[in-house]
């Protein structure tokens, strides 16, 4: 295993990797961009409520594990768990990987970043080209140092490529985990759907320890394609997470992005989505829960660059103890995007005094003939509902738990069916762990 001790060693890290030049040059571009700016501060609008000054980000070490062959998952391994493909990373190392044989024959690529780089030295494959485009577009939208950092150092991750008009019926599952203290890890998820393709992807983050995750995701959804992506955050309370996602949704395409932030002690995520063609349809949904002294800051961007596109963001959170949650949602409508239909809704449940929720929706509309609206509410548990359930025999805590779950139910109903139970039970575990005396 090779260890690098600071951001000052990024150039050396890139040099050591011996990657083909088509990819190394992207990293170097990201590194140049990284060096140009300083870490976000409370003066930056998006980071106004998330103070990272106490983290010494430059001094965090990162490492490249010795290469090992992942366990290959067979068709029957995959069928037994109901996935079309599955990949698992632990501490930066791919430990298992598999894709159904039929999918592979159809041209689906489900692989790791390392694997692609070792096989395509010239960058001429469709997947490589798509990766370059995705990387460049990500870099273009990477207006902060954290994002640029993740792009320059992205050292492992999953790549998904679905060829034209091909539909992958079962889900693809990506699991990433880490353990240990005082390091940063840089996973990458890149997804490309060619026109008319369809896929469902699940990504789960697990693990415990005082480490930092700096992840970047890229989604390209071609004309008429349909992508559903869900990320579930289930790491422990000491984990710090930064995720920057960028998506491009083309004509008549549909993209659903769902995040369930039910773990992590300090989370700052962003998903920035562009609607590039008429008829494109974007759905950005999420649930989040924070207790103790956790901090969750989520941002969504629905950027309408084309006319006649539709987008919707529905985020719902709850906060207890001394925790703080922030949701920032932006709907941006370019001058040419007439006929836009965009909606944004955020609700927060504040479970006790001392917990805090901020909701910051904003609209930037640069054309007429649009339908845009946003709504946000912050409330407490309702005493009349608690009373009602208690008259039916529920104890106070059963009533409160039930009402918190019910509050999330509508949004959980929007996630892909195969994941609803997993998310529900995670949420249940989180809620039953609330220490504070709840109001209501």
């Amino acid at each position: 295993m090779k260890v690098y001790n600071s951001t000052g060693e990024l150039a050396q890290f890139i040099g050591d990797r011996g990657e083909p030049s088509w990819f190394a040059s992207l990293r170097n571009q990201a590194l140049e961009q990284f060096k140009k700016i300083s870490w976000p501060t409370l003066q930056d609008e998006e980071w106004r409520r998330t103070d990272i000054s106490s983290f010494d980000l430059d001094a965090l070490s990162f490492s490249v594990p010795a290469v090992a062959q992942p366990r290959v998952l067979s068709d029957s391994d995959l069928s037994s768990v109901g996935y079309a493909g599955k990949v698992e990373f632990s501490n930066g190392l791919c430990i298992s990987l598999g894709l159904l044989g039929d999918e592979e024959k159809s041209g689906v690529v489900f692989t790791t970043l390392q694997d692609l780089l070792s096989k395509d030295t010239t960058g001429s494959s469709k997947v490589a080209k798509a990766l370059v485009r995705g990387f460049e577009q990500s870099l273009e939208s990477a207006d902060n140092k954290v994002f640029r950092w993740s792009l320059s150092a992205a050292s492992y991750g999953a790549l998904v490529y679905i060829p034209k008009n091909h539909r992958v019926e079962k889900s693809l599952r990506i699991t990433i985990s880490a353990s240990g203290d005082d390091f940063v890890t840089f996973p990458f998820v890149g997804v490309v759907l060619e026109p008319g393709a369809q896929a469902t992807i699940e990504m789960a983050w697990e693990g415990q320890g005082g480490f930092l995750v700096n992840q970047s995701n890229f989604f390209s959804v071609g004309d008429g394609a349909n992508l559903s992506y869900t990320q579930i955050q289930k790491t422990g309370d000491e984990v710090v997470v930064f995720t920057n996602g960028k998506s491009q949704v083309e004509r008549d395409a549909r993209f659903r992005h769902f995040e369930a932030i039910l773990g992590g002690g300090f989370v700052k995520n962003r998903i920035d989505s562009s609607l590039l063609g008429p008829g494109s349809d974007l759905e950005l949904d999420g649930i989040y829960f924070a207790d103790k002294e956790r901090h969750i800051d989520l941002r969504t961007v629905q950027h309408h660059k084309s006319h006649h596109a539709t987008s919707n963001a529905v985020y719902r959170g709850a906060v207890a103890d001394e925790a703080r949650v922030i949701y920032q949602g932006l709907i941006e409508v370019s001058p040419e995007a007439h006929g836009t239909d965009a909606y944004l809704s955020n609700k927060n449940l504040v479970l006790n005094d001392g917990a805090k929720a901020d909701s910051i929706p904003s609209l930037q509309i640069n054309t007429d003939d649009v339908r845009c609206s946003h709504g946000s509410t912050t409330g407490k548990l309702r005493a009349d509902q608690v009373f009602y359930l208690m008259t039916r025999g529920y104890s106070r805590s059963q009533a409160q738990e039930t009402l918190i779950l019910a509050y999330f139910q509508e949004v959980i109903g929007r996630v892909h069916e195969s994941l609803q139970d997993e998310i529900y039970s995670l949420l249940f575990d989180q809620i039953s762990g609330i220490k504070a005396d709840l109001k209501g």
């Binding site: 005493a383 509902q385 009373f387 008259t391 039916r392 106070r396 059963q398 019910a406 509050y407 509508e410």
Partner: protein, 263 residues
């Protein structure tokens, strides 16, 4: 079982509402409480169930000799007390089916615990059929099983949902707070059918109403008239007719009630 209400006084936000209620109910009996709007009918119901907004300022309520007013709301429920709400709350996110199942499970566990048995072993069986049969009996469409509790229900549908819960839970004492209000005659008949089905030696009820209509279908054993937080008179079934014929003004005159100056 018996429920003894003795000189019960209660207030809401500094206003005295109940001014000394005395009432004794045994299982097997149906009591009707009639009174005009604002007389304190819902306050009495809510105080009996333990609503946190109502403060008891005097008197006692005993359930088989035990101090009801010191019990948690759910303990009251698990010992057999039930209230059909005048205005049932909507709870989006919980389907009727899921809710009813949980209610039945919680009740089975609570009863097992009261008997000193292991509540874990008390899983009820045959729930789905029980729910479906009860819904059929009350002429409630089975599709309601998958709807969120009371969300978007009409007034009548909400009231049926209350009676459905009563039939499923089989309480020993039920308080029906204006369950008849706002119902058309068909709905009224269905609701009455529900209450009449419960009638028997193990069941007592307080039917709260300000119309006599429902009492044509559910014949009460006793009738009480509540006026400004006090029971001004009690009697048998015939009192319903007297009230119907003569109105609340007669009650006022008859029992020497003087309206206080509005301050």
């Amino acid at each position: 079982m018996n429920l003894e209400i003795q000189n019960l006084q209660a207030r809401v936000e500094e206003t005295e509402i109940l001014k000394g209620i005395n009432l004794s109910i045994k299982t097997g009996e149906i009591h009707a409480i009639m009174g005009p709007n604002g007389s304190g009918k819902s306050t009495l119901s809510n105080v009996l169930m333990g609503h946190p907004n109502y403060e008891v300022t005097g008197g006692e309520v005993l359930l088989d000799g035990e101090n009801l007013l010191e019990m948690e709301v759910n303990d009251r429920a698990n010992r057999g007390l039930f209230m059909a709400f005048q205005y049932p709350v909507e709870i989006p996110g919980i389907t009727v089916g899921r809710f009813m199942k949980r209610v039945i499970e919680i009740r089975a566990a609570a009863k097992a615990e009261l008997r000193g048995e292991d509540p874990e072993m008390s899983k009820p069986t045959g729930f789905v059929k029980y729910l479906r049969d009860t819904m059929d009996f009350l002429e409630v469409d089975q599709q309601f099983i998958n709807r969120y509790l009371n969300e978007g229900f009409s007034g009548g549908e909400k009231k049926r949902m209350e009676v459905l819960q009563m039939l499923m839970l089989k309480p020993n004492f039920a308080i029906l707070d204006e369950t008849d209000s706002g119902l058309d005659i068909d709905a009224l008949k269905v609701v009455s059918k529900g209450v009449n089905k419960m009638r028997g030696p193990e069941f007592g009820a307080i039917i709260i109403t300000h119309y006599q209509r429902i009492l044509d279908y559910i014949k009460p054993d006793y009738v009480h008239i509540l006026y400004k937080g006090k029971i001004v008179t009690s009697g048998g079934k015939d009192l319903v007719q007297v009230l119907e014929d003569k109105g609340y003004d007669w009650v006022k005159a008859q029992y020497g009630i003087v309206d206080e100056e509005e301050s």
